[in-house]
Amino acid sequence: MSDIKKLGWKEIPEGGLIAKAGNSATYETGSWRSVRPVRDEEKCTNCLICWVYCPDCSILVSDGKIKGIDYSHCKGCGICATECPVKAIKMINEKEFTD
């Protein structure tokens, strides 16, 4: 589930500080999902509307182009599929997938 084990009182940093910024990235919220967004690369125009509306920072973009969807954090809200201007994203029931 994550790289953080349950720490004993001797190991917890003083004041309960969290030593690594942004470490929630190691916590997977992808298991909340019941429908999965699947992107059609041919239809996609890389307009990045899905990226700007994603609540879970789950549209992976590199150099202005969409590289994929971060399924370990995507909660399957479906905003990307609803807002895509060219309908390049479809929401598919998780039951259809075996992984």
């Binding site: 309960g16 990235a25 919220t29 990226w51 609540p55």
Partner: protein
Amino acid sequence: MANLKELSKKEEILSGGHRLCAGCGASIVVRQVLSALDDPVVVANATGCLEVATTIYPYTSWKSSFIHNAFENAAATISGTEAMFKSLKRQGKIDKEIKFIAFGGDGGTYDIGLQSLSGALERGHNFVYVCYDNEGYMNTGIQRSSATPRGAWTTTTPAGKVIPGKAQYHKNLTEIVAAHNIPYVAQANPWRWNDLIEKARKAFYTDGPAFINVLSPCPRGWRFDSKDTVKISKLAVQTNFWPLYEVENGVWKLNYRPKERKPIKEWMEAQGRYRHLFRSENEHIIKEIQEEIDKNWEKLLVKCGEK
């Protein structure tokens, strides 16, 4: 205007793995606002959905400096931090530019944090305050706040035989803040992302206090499907429920004018929290709310010099 390709190249300050609900408006607002930044930032966060869901121990979703504080004092915390920064700069102990922002929900801004916000605005600290307004205490289970609109169901204004949802209109916080005569005040919405990002950029790079009130649709509390968050925020603007405007150095400017004003009924029909208003005995309430919205819109047009 904001260019998404350029914005997507910046490192995101909020990371995934936060535990806000699927389709939550708050994280969309935070991502859009912070994408306007070119400098390091210190974030203070009033108690609320955003704070509890992004800082569940031993995790944090924040890659920037982040100050965890109580419900009522996000604005006081950030003003103290900004004062310290100014002092360190004066002493020559720090030389880079740092921005300061406080996020609060409507509970932490309209209600509980109003006095500390007012104080920080009056003292003129150089900071940005963003209220993500989801119109209720959603984090504790959908209780009414002074931002909850009239007629809406919440667990403390339950619609039934006795009352038809909340009896009062929501308070106009944006105008209350504008009355402090600070350099920059705006009202925005995640649907118009370019408008919101541009407003955030202006707010960060204005000298002195800046405030943005952003509507943040809540799928759980407003009772709609998580995929419709952006659609609902679009309806809020098209029905004039949530007009987009800014007040820059005392000058009011309307940023978006719907071609044709949609009836408020369309915004209500899309949300389960208004379902009871469509019963015949409650229909007069919809009419009254429509009249109130039209009246407020006319007043806003006058202020913005559109009339």
